[in-house]
């Protein structure tokens, strides 16, 4: 491996084992040094621990749901337990796993490293954000232990305000609290990216992951307060009897849906934009190509973040909304597909004539592209009013949003986790196991959710614990897939834990990647870099500008035990 000075590098990507300061992991071992830390890297780890916990709580609820649905009869759960389980699954997975997943773990860890900063702009606020997240999560889990909630994750009024006798208020308060954690993270990232970029790190030299975090933060800051208000109104109506949406007194329940989806539709982009950022990093690295159309990738991210705010009404076509408004929202929903398609074509363009390697992060990334495309295209079905009226509230919708939120976002999260694992922990993991888990996840996912498209199109409604027997074949396939998927999710928990204890030491840049975060030790020291980084070129410097890789050149072998 040549060690010529890289345009973005500090000096030598090979490990210099002399006079190095201790890593952030070795910088204090007490519980206090973790719980009161202001180091963005440690806060990222704190988040990683809590979201993993929530992931398995939400996953357990989904397991029970899929078990119940294996047969048409209600044999495992009562209707009302079933309602509480899918609500728990939705609430926990959306607000306590998916929303914080990539931004607060990988984003917290990587944004300062990628822009050459020492930390985020407001380190204490960063820690407060974690505590708000944990506090909100505890309230939601407390509601679960006390008896659960049966409204679905959307808390639609008037059911949630007038009729439901479950722990709605407490859950809503938990989500309200965690909303402020999102806002704090958003403010922090925006200020960090604006004000703490290293000398030479201009806006159009930022890695796409940083752009994705920036646009996600915009949505955090501008969408989350509306959710907070919406939930506050539900809380006030339930707890203090202040009627806002009560139709009996002239209130408008559809107004609740407007406010709720003004947040919750952009929330889908909060989940998928970070995933797009991760995948952009992965595909360029493992195709050994500059990203195709960097500036259009940036514009597409910004366009999705902005146009994503104009489309929320497509969740409400059958709610009794005005048909004129429905037409406008339908059109705008088609518009937002354009930048998403640009991104898919650009990832494909990046692969073209690249020296594609199939290491485990790349397998996740390629899985993402396929699943995102399928999820996105079925989104277009749902954006057109006639089709939506046919499949509204069926498993078609369930399948569609799981393709985006689980297929795309979770795949990208796992891809990013595997890619940056050596940097975060300083250890390597068994690559064969990782590849197997990645492939298993792809197949398990499709087996779980593709049959739901068919069942939904044939008319199987969502949110029922029993169903007509003609749908059983699709549900058995889906439940079988869920079992495969569960194994695929548990495997990384096993081998990544193993790698923490017994894994080989990772080198500084095991993938031979070009980003600034690889130009420091694995794991990085508290202050991130030795000296102050200066940036002299654009990102993804995998080959000279304007030159295609030579076709027959053998792929550069990666170092370490990863391949």
């Amino acid at each position: 491996m040549s060690t010529t000075a890289s345009p973005t590098g500090l000096a030598d990507p090979d490990e210099l084992d002399l006079r190095l300061p201790v890593s952030y992991l070795a910088d204090g071992h007490s519980v206090r040094s973790w719980l009161l830390t202001t180091d963005h890297k440690r806060i990222a780890i704190l988040y990683a621990v809590t979201i993993t916990l929530f992931f398995f709580i939400g996953g357990a609820a989904a397991t029970l749901v899929r078990l119940e649905l294996a047969t048409p009869e209600a044999d495992l759960l009562r209707a009302d337990t079933y309602n509480k389980l899918f609500t728990l699954h939705g609430v926990v997975m959306v607000w306590f796993f998916l929303i914080p997943s990539i931004p607060n773990t990988l984003g917290n860890f990587l944004v300062p490293l990628m822009i050459g900063a020492r930390d985020v702009a407001f380190p204490k606020l960063n820690l407060i954000s974690w505590y708000l997240n944990v506090g909100g999560g505890s309230l939601a889990v407390a509601a679960l232990l006390l008896g659960g909630v049966d409204t679905g994750w959307t808390f639609y009024v008037p059911y949630s305000t007038v009729f439901s006798n479950t722990w709605v208020s407490l859950t809503v308060l938990g989500v309200f609290t965690t909303g402020f954690s999102s806002i704090a993270t958003g403010v922090n990232f925006i200020a960090t990216i604006h004000l703490l970029r290293a000398p030479g790190m201009t806006w159009f030299r930022l890695p796409l992951f940083v752009w994705a975090m920036y646009t996600t933060s915009l949505m955090f800051v501008l969408a989350t307060p509306v959710l907070a208000v919406t939930l506050l109104l539900v809380f006030a109506e339930r707890t203090f009897g202040l009627p806002i949406f009560d139709p009996a007194r002239g209130g408008d329940p559809i107004l609740f849906q407007h406010l709720f989806w003004f947040y919750s539709h952009p929330a889908v982009y909060i989940m998928v934009l970070p995933a797009m950022g991760v995948v952009s990093e992965l595909i360029t690295c493992f195709a050994r190509r500059k990203v195709f159309g960097y500036s259009f990738m940036v514009y597409a991210l910004v366009a999705i973040a902005v146009i994503g705010f104009f489309t929320w009404g497509h969740h409400m076509f059958t709610s009794g909304m005005s048909p004129y408004a429905a037409l406008v929202f339908s059109f705008l929903s088609f518009v937002v597909a354009v930048p998403s398609a640009i991104k898919v074509f650009n990832w494909t363009g990046t692969l073209y004539r690249g020296q594609v390697g199939f290491e485990s992060p790349m397998l996740y990334a390629l899985g993402f592209v396929g699943l995102f495309t399928l999820g996105g295209l079925t989104g277009l079905f749902l954006a057109s009013i006639p089709v939506d009226v046919h499949v509204q509230d069926t498993y078609f919708v369930v399948a569609h949003f799981h393709y985006i939120m689980v297929g795309a976002s979770v795949s990208a999260y796992f891809g990013g986790l595997h890619f940056w694992w050596p940097k975060i922990t300083g250890r390597t993991y068994p690559e064969t196991w990782a590849r197997f888990a990645a492939i298993l996840m792809f197949f398990g996912f499709n087996l779980t959710f593709f049959p739901q498209f068919i069942a939904g199109y044939l008319g199987m409604p969502r949110r029922y614990h029993a169903y007509p027997p003609e749908f059983q074949i699709w549900n058995v396939l889906s439940s079988a897939g869920a079992a495969v998927l569960a194994v695929a999710y548990l495997m990384p928990l096993g081998y990544l834990t193993w790698s923490l204890l017994f894994g080989e030491r990772a080198t500084n840049n095991p993938w031979d990647a070009s980003g600034l975060e690889w130009r420091t030790t694995s794991p990085p020291p508290r202050q991130n870099f030795f000296g102050s980084p200066r940036i002299q070129g654009g990102p993804y410097n995998y080959h000279p500008e304007g030159v295609a890789p030579v076709h027959d050149q053998p792929r550069l072998p990666s170092r370490g035990s990863l391949t």
Partner: protein, 234 residues
Amino acid sequence: MSRADVEACLREGHPDIEARMREPWSDLETDHATAFARQRDGAAFGIWVFLASEVLFFGALFLTYTAARLANQEAFAAAGRETNIVFGTLNTAILLTSSLTMAVASQAADKGLFRRLTLWCLAATAVFGLAFLVVKGFEYREDIEKHLVPGAHFALSQAPAQIFFGFYWLVTVVHAIHLSIGIALVTRLAVMGWRDVDFLKENPQVEVTALYWHLVDVVWIFLYPMLYLPGRSG
């Protein structure tokens, strides 16, 4: 005050800059004066981003009001007549005046001038804030006596008037919570500034608190025509 000003006046010599630098700004690869100016810019920028978020927070509340009022205009006019315009107008005047003292305090601290003026203005701001809450308390007592709390014993016959008062109670309480946080922040600044002679001088916390205070004032500026002015002419 522009950044160039800050840098210029900082270079004239403030040996205590280093003590005021915070992570990660202290690690910026510039001289201390520039780094300190960027730290101040960062604080102001951060609070503005948060204020943009608050605009959406209150914007959503105002939208709820707007939609409900459009659909129930007569009931809202009848309900609006029941609020006490004297208390409402007095409170608006109090908050507008508190914004004046807050602005003077912030501008004086910004240039590192007139410590006593800054302290007095901060104290006055906190007192005006408390006065607002006291007036609001009297108003709440009157509202409860007039049975203006939505529910079985509500005073007005039109059902949608309950939505108006549902909104009234929610939004005034949310505003009062915001104001109480503001009073706590201003009081903290006043106490710290009184104990430590150099604390307020060029401290970004003053500007941040002031910006937050003004936003709470702006929210009330809109609540005034929403809650107190409907139906007065009818």
